[in-house]
Subunit: 218 residues, 4 copies
Amino acid sequence: MNAPIPRILLTGFDPFGGESINPSWEAVRALHGRRIGGHRIVALQLPTEFAGSLRMLKAAVREQAPAILLGVGQAGGRRQLSIERVAINLQDARIPDNAGVQPVDEPVIAGGPAAYFSTLPIKAMLAALHAQGLPAEISNSAGTYVCNHIAYAMLHLAAKRRGMRAGFIHIPYLPVQAAQRHGSASMALADVVRCLEIALRTAIATPVDRRLGAGALD
Amino acid sequence: MNAPIPRILLTGFDPFGGESINPSWEAVRALHGRRIGGHRIVALQLPTEFAGSLRMLKAAVREQAPAILLGVGQAGGRRQLSIERVAINLQDARIPDNAGVQPVDEPVIAGGPAAYFSTLPIKAMLAALHAQGLPAEISNSAGTYVCNHIAYAMLHLAAKRRGMRAGFIHIPYLPVQAAQRHGSASMALADVVRCLEIALRTAIATPVDRRLGAGALD
Amino acid sequence: MNAPIPRILLTGFDPFGGESINPSWEAVRALHGRRIGGHRIVALQLPTEFAGSLRMLKAAVREQAPAILLGVGQAGGRRQLSIERVAINLQDARIPDNAGVQPVDEPVIAGGPAAYFSTLPIKAMLAALHAQGLPAEISNSAGTYVCNHIAYAMLHLAAKRRGMRAGFIHIPYLPVQAAQRHGSASMALADVVRCLEIALRTAIATPVDRRLGAGALD
Amino acid sequence: MNAPIPRILLTGFDPFGGESINPSWEAVRALHGRRIGGHRIVALQLPTEFAGSLRMLKAAVREQAPAILLGVGQAGGRRQLSIERVAINLQDARIPDNAGVQPVDEPVIAGGPAAYFSTLPIKAMLAALHAQGLPAEISNSAGTYVCNHIAYAMLHLAAKRRGMRAGFIHIPYLPVQAAQRHGSASMALADVVRCLEIALRTAIATPVDRRLGAGALD
């Protein structure tokens, strides 16, 4: 009998903030079912809701027991793919989530540590993207909305489960969204999908991250 | 005997400012020879040189006698395709051009008017791009370097030649360039090419521009 | 009998776009009556209205016959004092003016030239501000709203009146405005007033501008 | 015998990155010796060095036993005063520090938690600044250079010392610095000093922070 193929759980979100699409789900679903570096990708759409997304994430992690957990979210206004370095134990919502809830200064996980660092090889992923001519950067904040919430939750789950690594990537608007927003930056869907594929391949091939400078002065 | 097919002269520039490619030439050459709305596109690479580009432009206009003149140039840092509304009679070079010349506060054409407005239907072009979900904006300054120089020169030539219309479009970095510049916005080549094609089709189909608001407060 | 003291007509605008103050008027009125380089400053508040501002400007120019006309306007979001190089013969209003009028693609002066360059010594003014440690830049677009409208009108009036020079300066939000707008840049009122004073002194002392590079690539 | 006056240890940095001044030290030293809300301010200049700043900070905390520790640092390019919410246990230096050391992906304190949240009332401080018309924002990243290093170290020290609270504030360039950097935002020194004074008064008067939304979507 064969060993089961290890899973990658790749999550995107449904639209929020008045948008009719969310580029994170568009990119993530394009990779659903894809086999990559000996792993099978399972794409999952989370609701842009604090409570609902956490509930669904936990159930999926239990069911899939993935080797890699990668969350993807829309960061409207960013100009490049942003590989998040850290997630913080905090909810501070500028707008209500899709369930109408707007927490202020509440923890993601009561009693959890203040933050978790990504356990994916973010510097190796950055280097691999740049080597392929794809625009990406390391980000030191995933915000305080549902994206950071899920990024923190993923890393919290990964901290308790040996062999599971986790991380989060923010992506710009799609061109079709930027066409409705005077002056916004965007990134083509095909390029985002290619970035995610390269990032995942690199994560699989890199158990220990490289030490490459990618700091921010402030 | 058939009438000759009217021409579109579509210009891009060679790389400058330490770049190894110029997205304007990459986009423009992809359209060379293409037949569009009953016109034939002739792509021309201009040098990023004040004097050299003007000389080459004049010769090409004489030879091709195009119905439409569209200049395209790189605007590193811009986030969307920028349809230029106006070009001014001024050279003020922040860096030397590719011939090492760096004019300060000199006219493009001695004795020419202070500025020309684009004679392409910029509002109709903008609306057509937005309708296709492509991010674009009207710009009220083409700068004071070689791009504005050529934009002005094209409009000056068009002012003297009945039946020739002219305009200029600035485009962002390509993703491969943004990958080397921390935080820069970019636009996929295929999307830029599609934008130019739509812009040209719209120009051909629109003898008189639509009146659509696209103003800047400052 | 003494010769009359030559006048500087210095204009600001009333608040618009939902603001309760306009920094241009705050700065300009602080200089009203001041004597500077042998000239007397007359401050004038213009309404943020296309038609009304032009009418009031013309009357004031007739009455004061100023040697120097300097318009000042708010450019919310800009980070430094912006000395405008050029004004264009175009109205394209993104929002209605304070009289509820919203012109699209209409000229400021029917039959006027496409643009006028500032006739104040913008490079000498820039150099003087930098020498005093004040943040300023040359701008190549005053937009397409009431500021550009008045800038163009001033230069049009100056073109017809020997001995009158004109120009326009855009200024950032005040700190008190930025406090209500997440992330906006601002500039302290005292620094803006000092900038205007230095700019005017330099204009008086500099009949012919210096040739200093301050170009924009795009 | 009188009880000793409680101390506020207020730190700034020396210049780095080619600058000849550091606005954080200019602002901080203006408050040295000032008595505020029953506390005495002690200003301290730290070197922009990872090791050196930490050594000096520890010695000063031991000596002064302050009730409040507030670090201030330059964030060139930011447009408003930034009250930092969190500091992370990471050094990733984009440029060498003033001792020539450039750590990559090393912890501030080996074995320390991933992050600390500020223990000053950041939302109350924000509200007090806005109420005074001063432009300020909450920031969710203090970067990965010496500022974040000191912010983390302060919070680490505060975590072990009952009754000591700590936090960090980033400030924009001064106008004199922005005058040398095309397009940079800045903030007047007097306004920065006033902000720091209000922030400290609010910290003293607010043992438990208010719950006010000031979140970031990403």
